[in-house]
Amino acid sequence: MASPNDLQFQEFDEAADLLSADPEATTLSVSVTSTREGLPESLCYSSGFWTFEYYESLFNVDTVQVLDRVKGSVLPLPGRNFIKHYLRSNPDLYGPFWICVTLVFSVAISGNLSMFLTQMGNPAFHYRPQFHRVTIAAVIIFMYAWLVPVALWGFLTWRQSADRQVKGYSFLETVCVYGYSLFIYIPTSILWIIPFEWLRWMLILVAMVISGSVLVLTFWPAVRDEAKLIAVATVVAILLLHTLLAVGCKMYFFHSATSIPPPAAAATVSTLTTKQH
């Protein structure tokens, strides 16, 4: 419909800016309803996962954004889906990875300190750094932060059919929300040094409620359309695994010097300790 005078070369600033910012970008339209997950996700998949650019696109966050996401994981408000509200099609791996690393060391160090404080008056006690606990904590936490999202994502992807309105979440978004939901355990584990048992149970309860509700608020819309039984079972399974992690960590790392692994986590822990010898 344009007149012949309009058929000249026109520079579109926005497109030029977008292209200059990322030369690998494809010029797709950024409408949320038509595309599946918006532009950055397709930027992710434009280069293969073996290239450096793929992982660079997963670290495309600023300090302010990371702090914002952390804040969102600590203050779950009903109606605020973490993935839709905070991630907004830009999942990152920076948050989950460094939160997991920090959690590993905070749990190991706080467990060591609490053991020291409870045994301080004991003259027969000789302080030990217990460095092997770092390895055990790392294995447990990283396995939880990666395998459970894989299982959950696989389950959700299998269950959704082609004509469903609500598309499932991508694998990276699932990993991202799980990683950020673990953040609340970092201050909790530091506060567990205080040797009052009732305080510890109260703290773990608060932490589980907060991070559990972040997960439930995120995944409930994805399973809402399922049969009631399956939906409830999925949510219960998510919460159960989360509880298992929290209670298992508490019982293993914050017990006295003679630690007895809980029966639930005994399988993994005992194979790991036998490997240590």
């Binding site: 300090t63 302080y127 750094p129 217990q130």
Partner: protein, 227 residues
């Protein structure tokens, strides 16, 4: 006549003849290139002491830059990994011999210290590159490794203090020394690394460095000698 002279500048030489039985020979050398080539060849002939001392001087120079961190590019420009290796091995050796009666509950083994330092440095370097940093891989490894120097000094001081006893006083002294050297290490490495990051992501890069030196400081502080 003057124009003719000017148009034929070498006209005066036209009657110079070179006898055929005198060989004409000589070297044509380009000034810049020849010097470089001469230098490379001459390092083969220099005494071994000279070669080793040159590297040692470079390492020592970088140690001084770490001890007095100012925004200089000497560490970044000529990176080398001798210093980090030396510091890592020294630190790992000094951390041995503690709580040796039960190897399961004790401090980190030699290999564990190595893994923590080198894998930690590699992961931090990858992290800063993925966040869009302009520093190169080995330059970052070099900076992170050299900035372990204050912590190694703290470890030496701690071991000396522990010879005197392991009571509360020695613990307080060790705590102060380790805290001071942790702050020094973090400050020194961020002085070198911070410039290479975009400004809205500086904290994202500094935090892992902080965590890395915190963990090493923790390992040093909790070193308890075997009885």
């Amino acid at each position: 006549m003057a124009e003719e002279e000017a148009s034929r500048p070498f006209a005066g030489l036209s009657d110079v003849s070179i006898p055929e039985d005198i060989p004409v020979e000589g070297d044509i050398s380009v000034p810049m290139g020849a010097n470089k080539r001469d230098d490379e060849y001459s390092t083969l002939d220099e005494p071994v002491k000279e070669t080793i001392l040159r590297d040692l001087r470079a390492v020592g120079n970088k140690f001084i830059h770490v001890l007095y961190p100012k925004r200089s590019s000497a560490l970044l420009r000529d990176w080398d990994l001798w210093g980090p290796l030396l510091l890592c091995v020294t630190l790992a050796l000094l951390l041995q011999g503690g709580a040796a009666d039960s190897d399961d509950q004790g401090g980190p083994q030699f290999a564990e210290v190595f893994v923590v330092i080198w894998f930690g440095s590699i992961i931090i370097t990858l992290n800063s590159k993925l966040l869009g940093g302009t520093i190169s891989f080995f330059q970052s490894l070099c900076v992170l490794g050299y900035c372990i120097l204050p912590l190694t000094v703290a470890m030496i001081v701690c071991r000396i203090v522990l010879v005197g006893g392991s009571g509360t006083v020695s613990f307080v002294v060790r705590l102060l020394v380790v805290t001071a050297s942790f702050g020094w290490s973090t400050f020194a490495s961020t002085a070198f690394l911070a410039d290479s990051q975009p400004s809205n992501r500086k904290a994202l890069v500094v935090y892992p460095v902080f965590l890395f030196y915190f963990i090493i400081s923790w390992i040093i502080l909790t070193f308890s000698p075997s009885h």
